[in-house]
Each structure stands twice: as C-alpha cells, then as structure tokens.
C-alpha cells in the first residue's frame, strides 16, 4: 500500500464517520441540500490557497465559517429560509471560485484528488473530523429537542439559536475536511446519503447515529479502494458506493414491509 493510499484511507474513515454523524442531524432538519450547497462556498477559499500556496483546507474553512455565521445572522434578521440564503451565497461563491481558480486546478477543487493527500493534510482532516464528531455528540440532544419543538427545548434550558449556529460551524468544519477527498461538488453527498440510508433502518436515535457514521465510513473507504483498483477518480466512486448502500437499505425496508426494523 502506498503512502498516498494509506493517508487517503485514514482521511476517508475520519471524514466519512464525522460527515455521516453530522449528516444524521441535517437529514432530520430537512436541510439535506444545505451541505451540498454549502460546500460550494469553500471554492473561493480553495482558490486563494492554490493561488498563494497555503493549505487550501484553511482557505476553504475560513470561507465556510464566515458563510455559516452570515447564514445564521441573515436568517434571524430576514426570516428567509436557510436554503434560500445558502442558494444565494453558493452561486456567488461558485462564480467567484471559477474566476479565481486556474483552469487546471479547478477540476481538482471540484472533484478532490486523494492522490495528493499528505501526512499534514491527513492530520488536519482527522483532527477536524474528530472535533466535529465530538462536538456534535455534545449538542445532539439539544438539536433533537429543538427540532421536536423550539418551545419544548427552551423550557428545558436549551439555547436553540446558539446551538444551530454551533451546528453550522461544525458542518463547515466537516465539509472543509471532506473537500480533499471528494471535492466541493460531491462532498454534500457524505452528509446526506449515509444518513438517509441509516434512517431507512432505524427505530431509535442510537441506531440511527451509529448506522449513519458506519455508512459514511463504508462509502468513503470502498470508494477509495475501488478508485485505487480501477485507477479512477475516487469522488464519483465514493458517491456510487454510498448510493449502492442506500439502495440496499431501501430494499431491506421494502422487504420488511414494516415502518422500521
């Protein structure tokens, strides 16, 4: 096994686990397309990293972080839906990113390049994923209560607005970590499809959280191994692996003919 493949697999495991777990909340919040659209906001940051020679992760993360704060604030002031605000921000970012990033590197930014994963970027991605997953674990209960009823959560002492902001920051962190594995175009997959697959098979939150993380890891790892074997782009293969898992869960659910296992 080459160093690049080993680093790629370690990164994929960390990012797959973290994205799957965070995504389990995103799917319940009916923000499935938010992760996808939000990932495009990183593009100008990646471009600046490529242009000025610093780690594109940091550029992407700063843009995502600022975008998360803006989305949260604009939503509170205007009462526009999060999807609408992200829709405006992501097209703006996409336009800026395409203008900033040289044509050759644009493909890498859009689809990721696992062959370029280094020890440094692996450490950064693992650290970011671990922090994001642990913080999500801490706020999971408050997020769920806020989704069930804002008033119920408030009466239990939950600060719903602050929790939502923290969650958006954690999504930014996870998306930034996933950019180098699958790129800006496909990273949204990692926060949506594994959780959607898990929801097909879950009757409680514990099972849902565990399966979301597990399916995230399975999709990312199998995609990278297939990419190494067939010498193809890993991003699309990660997506195809995850979709295969999703289809299997639909068949299991359908075969069981029950609300959940």
């Amino acid at each position: 096994m080459t160093d690049a493949l080993a680093f790629g697999l370690i990164t994929a495991i960390a990012v797959g686990l973290s994205a799957g777990y965070l995504g389990s909340l995103m799917v319940l919040k009916k923000m499935a397309l938010v992760g996808d659209a939000l990932s495009h906001v990183a593009l100008p940051g990646l471009g600046l990293g490529i242009l000025y020679g610093f780690n594109p992760f940091f550029g992407g993360f700063v843009f995502l972080f600022v975008a998360a704060a803006l989305i949260w604030r604009i939503e509170r002031v205007t009462k526009l839906s999060v999807e609408t605000i992200i829709g405006a921000l992501f097209t703006l970012s996409l336009a800026a990113g395409i203008l900033i990033i040289p044509e050759f590197e644009l493909l890498e930014a859009l689809f990721g390049d696992i062959s370029k994963v280094t020890l440094e970027s692996t450490v950064i991605a693992v650290a970011a994923s671990v922090v994001a997953a642990l913080m999500t674990r801490i706020i999971y209960k408050n997020m769920i209560l806020g989704m069930i009823s804002e008033e119920l959560a408030t009466s239990a002492g939950v600060q719903v607005a602050r929790t939502n902001l923290l969650y958006l920051f954690l999504v930014s962190l996870t998306v930034a970590a996933g950019l180098q594995v699958v790129g800006t175009l496909l990273v949204g997959f990692l926060v949506v499809v594994p959780a959607a697959s898990a929801k097909n098979l879950s009757s409680n939150l514990y099972k849902y959280g565990v399966l979301s993380s597990a399916f995230g890891v399975i999709s990312a790892v199998s995609g990278i191994l297939l990419s190494d074997y067939f010498n193809l782009q890993p991003g699309p293969l990660i997506v195809l692996s995850g979709v295969a898992v999703f289809i299997v869960t639909i068949i299991i659910r359908w075969a069981a003919k029950a609300p959940a296992l």
Binding site: I144, I148, E150, S203
Partner: protein
C-alpha cells in the same frame, strides 16, 4: 374583573401590562393577571387571539413590553400543541432520558402517567396514539418536578375519552405535587371542571376571574362573538 392579590407570598406569577407586537401588528395589548401557587388557569379565546404568543412570552421566547414576574427561580414544564416527531426516529426511552437522566427514573416517570413501561419505552414517539403521546409529554414535563406546567391545547389531537382521563391525570398530579397549571383550551368543559381561574383573550383581556363565569352566556358572546351551548356537567346529565 376579578384580580388576584398581587405580590403576596402565595403568588407565583404576576403579569403586568404585557404587550407584544409583531411587524407593527399588536398581538397582545396590555395584558395583566396574577396567579397563585397550586391553582389552574385556563386561557381561552378565538383562533389568533394571542394565546400561544402569551405562552411564548411567558417562556421568554418572544420580545414584549411590560413585566412578567415569576416568583424566584421557578422550574417550568411545557407541553406544546404541535410536535415534529413523525420524521425523527427517537424512542420513548431516548426522549425521556433527555430529561430524566437514568433508566429507573424514566420508568418511574412513565408509570406516573399511567403508561405501561414494557414495550412502550422502545416505541418510536412518531407511532404513538394522540393520547399516548400526550401522556409521554406530561411525563416529560413533570420529570424534573416543575413548579409550573404550561399546556398548549393538550388534548387537541386526542379522542374524547382520552381527554377526560388526561385531565383527571393532570388534576391528580396537581394535587400530589402542588403544581401551578396554565392551560390553553377551546373546551369550555375543561374550563368549568378543571380550572380555578379563566383568562379570556382576544388580543386584549376580555375577562379574568373565576372559571365558573364561563357559564355566563354574555361572557361567551363577548369572547367568541356568538352564543354557544355548553355541555352539561356529568352530574347534571344523570
């Protein structure tokens, strides 16, 4: 209007001249009332009267002018009108653990609202009947021994028989724990049989006083704009 003595030792809530505006539209206009510990207040009024907004203000979720004074550090349990649970795979046990902290306490809470603990705890919240869900929510609300319970139309999705048993349950819990209860309801039967006081709203206070006044046809007309027939008390029907 009958006004309760304010700021006595037994008062748990004093609301003075509370007004709420949303986008320059007055939702609540100069509402004042007080409530004593261990009593039940029914809040009635037509749709859009500002009942739920008043609850949100009492919970601190809504900006308002005027003052809302809770006595000391009261613990408030809240049972909302609507829950978004159909899409969330959360079991009754997991939901209760969020409030109770430990397994034995969960079972104690669930049995206190007359629900069996066996398979019930492993059921998803989203598949419970209206009555079962309401009991779980009551168990959740009383799990940490609150001083006050706020109920927003607690039996709107429940059949008539279950409504009666839920209000009997609330009555028992109130007597056992001396909880102060505020209920938003459209059911005049609930106002007469399970409440001590009534606050009739239509953006401003129409009436605040003894709940027996709900039998007064001219008051009902003032609240709802038309004459209504009341169900007779069970004793009267016999």
């Amino acid at each position: 209007m009958k006004v309760l003595a304010a700021n006595s030792d037994n008062d748990i809530l004093t609301v003075s001249n509370v007004s709420v505006k949303v986008k320059d539209q007055v939702i609540l206009d100069n509402i004042s009332f007080g409530l004593k510990k261990g009593t039940t207040l029914a809040i009635v009024g037509p749709n859009g009267a500002g009942k739920t907004v008043l609850f949100r203000a009492l919970l601190g979720l809504m900006p308002y002018t005027g003052t809302i004074e809770w006595r000391g550090a009261v613990k408030i349990g809240y049972v909302p009108q609507k829950l978004s649970v159909s899409d969330i795979p959360i079991s009754v046990r997991e939901f209760m653990l969020y409030k109770c902290g430990s397994g034995p306490h969960v079972e104690k809470c669930i049995t206190s609202v007359e629900l069996g603990t066996g398979r019930m705890l492993d059921k998803e919240l989203g598949v419970l009947s209206g009555g079962q869900l309401q009991r779980v929510l009551i168990a959740w609300a009383i799990a940490d021994n609150p001083d006050v319970l706020l109920f927003d139309e607690p039996t709107s999705a429940v059949d008539v028989d279950s409504q009666e048993t839920i209000y009997e349950l609330l009555n028992r819990l109130q007597q056992e724990h001396e909880i102060t209860i505020l209920i938003i309801t459209h059911d005049m039967h609930v106002v007469r049989h399970y409440s001590d006081y009534m606050l009739a709203l239509n953006r401003k206070t129409i009436f605040f006083g003894d709940s027996e006044e709900i039998s007064n046809p001219s008051l009902l007309e003032a609240i709802y704009g038309s004459r209504l027939l009341l169900r007779k008390k069970p004793k009267e029907q016999e």
